[in-house]
Symmetry: C2
Subunit: 426 residues, 2 copies
C-alpha cells in the first residue's frame, strides 16, 4: 500500500510536467490561423509518408512483444500497421485538413434593446487529454482533430502500441515544429503504467477535458474517478425494432448489417425486437440468414418456436452488450412495448425502428431517449465519418456538451463578445 | 467517524427515494407539450399570488431563526420576502412562460450522399439537481426554468430558508398536479444537513446534471467531489482595462458601475488595469469617484502616486475576488500587459476593455479567454436576463456544455434522428 502510494506520487511527478508543457502550448495554438494549422497537418501527412519504414519497424517491435505476451490474433490485427493502413492514416489527416476551421465561427449574435451587441464565438477548449487502447492509428487521428480545433493534446495510449506511438508522436512533434507551432501541442505519455492513466484523471487545471476511448472497464474507471471534466464514450446495448408493417426485406438487410458488419463496436445491435403480427413472416427467414452469417440467436419462447435453432434467452441477455456474433431476439406486442424494453435495457446509444407506420415512427423517434434514433436505416451509421464530420474522437453517450459522434465542433467551447457604446447596468 | 458513516448512509437512504421519484417523473415531463408546461407555470404563478400570506408566514419563521442565529443584516436581507419580492418571483415565472419552448427545436439538419437525412433535435436533459444557498426566490426561479425545458428538478436549498422553501415547493407541486403533470417534477430535499448535499453529489443514474449555486466553498466542494456531471458556476476575479485612448468619462462610468452596482456578484470587477499614458488624466478622478462611492482603492505604486488615499496593493490583491467595495488598481504599459495580467490572475468569467483602438480591441477580444469579453460596456451584463435569456440558473465558468449564463438552451441535450430508406453500412 505504501509502495503503491510512493509509485503514484512518482508517476504524478512524471506526468505533471508533460501536462504543463501542453498547457503552455495551448494559448499559442488557440490563436493559430487556419492556414498555420493546416500547414502543420500537411507536414504531418508528408512526414508519415516519408517515415513509413521507421513506423513499420516500431510496429514490428510492438507486434513481436504482443506475440510474446500471447495477445489474441484479433488484438494483434488491431495493433498491426502496413502500408495500406498508413495510407489510411494519411488520408484521415488530409480529410481533417479539408474540413472548415471551427474556431472563430460566430455561432449566433443579436442586439439587445440597450444597444449591446452580443456575439457567441467558437473558441478552442484548450487542452484535451485522451486515454486509449491498442490501435496506433488513434494517436494520429485524435491529435490532428485536436490540432485543427486549436487544442493542444496529451495522449496516453496502451502499452501494446507504445513503440509505434512514440515514433508517431515524435514525427508529429517535428512536423508541427516545422510548421511554426509548438512541439508540445502534441505530447505523448511514454510510461504506460496504469498509474499514468490515474494521474491524468487528476490533472485539474491542466486538462479542459479528458476522453476515455476504449473498453467498458477503462470508461467506467475514468467516469467514476476523474476530477477533470470527462466526455463519456462508447457503451451501446442497441436495439432494432421491426414494426408490424415493416418492409420485410429491408428489415432483414438492416438487422443483418447492424449485427454483423462489425459486431465489436458500440453501435452494433444486441437485441432485435419484433412485432408479434409480423414475426411469423419475418423471423424464420431473418434468423436463418443471421445464423448463416455466424450469429448465435438467443430468443424469447415465441422466437424459439418460430426459429428452433435459437437458444432460449435469459433476463441477462436483454441487458448484455455482447460485442460479438450473438443476437437476442424478442417478440413484442407493439411499439409501446418496444419503447419500454429499450428504456429499461438500452444504454442510450443508437436505437432503430423499421416501419411504414407514420404514427409509430413519430412515437419511436420522440420517446426513445438515445444519442441517435434510426428510422429504416442501420444503427451502424452513428459515426463521425458517416455523419459527415470527417472524423471523430469517439461517440459520446452522455447528455452534456456533446451527444453522439465527437467531431470538431465538440472539441470547442464558446466565448461571448459583447460590444457596447458605454452601457452600464442599472 | 463510524457515527458520521452511519449518518451518511441514513441520509442516502433518505435522499435516494426522492431522487427516484424525480427520475420517474422525468420521462412524462420530457414529452409534455408546450401548452401543458405553460399551464403548469401559469398555475404556479397564480398559486404564488393566492398564497402570499402563507409564504410570508414561513419566511417570518426563517427570519426569526436567522435573527436568533445571529445572521448578518446582509444575509437577513437576502432571506427576506415581502409582497414586492413575491411580485418579482411571479414576474419571473411569467417571463419564463413567455419564452419559446426549446424542446423539439431542430438545431440543424442535413442530407448525406447516401440519402440519409440527419436531424439534430433538442431534447430535455432529464433530471437537474441544484444545491443553493440562502435566497428563497431561487427555489421558484430554478424550478420553472427546469420545467419549461422539460426537466424534472431535485432542489436542495440552504437551511436558512427552509421554511419558505418547503411552502414554495408544496405550492409548486400542487399547481403542477393541477396542470396534469407529475407533482414529483419538482422535489425539495427538506433535510438541510450537509450530508444531503454530499448525497446529491453521488446520485449517479438519478441526476443528469448537478449545478451548485452559491459561494466559493460550496462550488469547490461540488466540483471536486461530485460523481455526477456538474456545471461549475460563479467565481469571478474580473478586470476592466482602460486603454490609452479610452473615452475617459465612459471608462469612469463603466468602472464605477462594474465595481459598485452590486459588488457581491461574480461579474463585478475586482481589478482595474490602466494604460500608463492615460493614467494621469483618468485615475485621480475615477478613483476619487469610486472612493466617494465607498470603494477602498488598493493600488500599485504608480496608482498610489496618482491617488494618494490608495493603500498599496500586495501580490495577494491581484488574485483576490473581494466581492466587496474594494478595488485593486494597476498601471500597465499596454494591452499586452493587460492581457497577460488577466491570463495570470483572472478566473475566466467576465473581462472588459474600454478603448477606441480597433487593433487593441480585436486583440483583447481574441486573446482574453473568458466566458464574456466586453468592449466599452460594464462587465455586470453577464446575466441570463441581460443577455435576453429571460432567466438563468447561474453563470457557467467552465468550458464544456455551456459557458456564461445558463438559460433554457443549456438545460437541454440533443438527439440525432436519422431517417433512411433502408440504408446499411458497407
Amino acid at each position: 500500500m505504501a509502495g503503491s502510494q510512493v509509485n503514484e506520487e512518482a508517476i504524478r511527478a512524471e506526468v505533471e510536467p508533460l501536462a504543463a508543457s501542453v498547457r503552455a502550448a495551448a494559448p499559442v495554438l488557440a490563436l493559430a490561423s487556419t492556414g498555420r494549422k493546416n500547414q502543420a497537418l500537411r507536414a504531418i501527412a508528408e512526414a508519415l509518408d516519408a517515415k513509413r519504414a521507421e513506423i513499420l519497424r516500431a510496429n514490428e517491435r510492438d507486434l513481436e512483444a504482443g506475440r510474446q505476451a500471447g495477445l489474441s490474433s484479433a488484438l494483434l490485427d488491431r495493433l498491426m500497421l502496413n502500408d495500406k493502413r498508413i495510407d489510411g492514416i494519411i488520408e484521415g489527416v488530409n480529410q481533417v485538413m479539408a474540413l472548415p476551421d471551427p474556431v472563430g465561427e460566430i455561432v449566433s449574435g443579436w442586439r439587445r434593446p440597450n444597444g449591446l451587441e452580443i456575439r457567441m464565438v467558437r473558441v478552442p477548449l484548450g487542452v484535451v487529454g485522451i486515454i486509449y487502447e491498442a490501435r496506433p492509428n488513434v494517436t494520429v487521428d485524435v491529435a490532428v482533430l485536436c490540432l485543427k480545433a486549436g487544442n493542444a493534446v496529451l495522449l496516453r495510449g496502451g502499452k501494446e502500441a507504445i513503440n509505434a506511438n512514440i515514433v508517431l508522436a515524435d514525427i508529429m512533434r517535428a512536423a508541427i515544429t516545422d510548421a511554426g507551432l509548438p512541439a508540445d501541442s502534441v505530447q505523448l505519455i511514454r510510461n504506460t503504467d496504469r498509474a499514468t492513466a490515474r494521474a491524468m484523471m487528476g490533472l485539474v487545471g491542466y486538462l479542459d477535458v479528458l476522453v476515455p476511448r476504449g473498453g467498458h472497464s477503462l470508461i467506467r474507471t475514468v467516469v467514476e474517478n476523474a476530477r477533470v471534466p470527462v466526455i463519456e464514450t462508447g457503451e451501446g446495448n442497441c436495439h432494432l425494432y421491426v414494426d408490424y408493417n415493416a418492409d420485410v426485406k429491408m428489415a432483414e438487410e438492416i438487422a443483418f448489417n447492424a449485427k454483423t458488419q462489425r459486431p465489436s463496436v458500440c453501435n452494433a445491435i444486441e437485441t432485435l425486437l419484433v412485432q408479434r403480427d409480423i414475426a411469423p413472416g419475418f423471423l424464420p427467414s431473418a434468423c436463418a440468414r443471421l445464423a448463416a452469417g455466424g450469429v448465435e440467436i438467443r430468443g424469447c419462447p415465441e422466437t424459439v418456436a418460430l426459429f428452433t435453432p435459437a437458444k432460449p434467452a435469459t433476463e441477462e441477455d436483454w441487458a448484455t452488450e455482447y460485442l460479438a456474433l450473438i443476437l437476442a431476439v424478442k417478440v413484442v406486442a407493439n411499439v409501446d412495448e418496444a419503447i419500454a424494453h429499450i428504456a429499461r435495457y438500452g444504454t442510450r446509444n443508437s436505437e432503430g425502428i423499421v416501419s411504414n407506420d407514420h404514427a409509430n415512427i413519430e412515437k419511436f423517434t420522440r420517446e426513445v431517449d438515445a444519442a441517435a434514433v434510426y428510422v429504416n436505416a442501420s444503427t451502424r451509421f452513428t459515426d463521425g465519418f458517416e455523419f459527415g464530420f470527417g472524423a471523430e474522437l469517439g461517440v459520446s453517450t452522455q447528455k452534456l456538451h456533446v451527444r453522439g459522434p465527437i467531431g470538431l465542433a465538440a472539441l470547442t467551447s464558446s466565448r461571448y463578445v459583447v460590444v457596447g457604446t458605454g452601457q452600464v447596468r442599472s
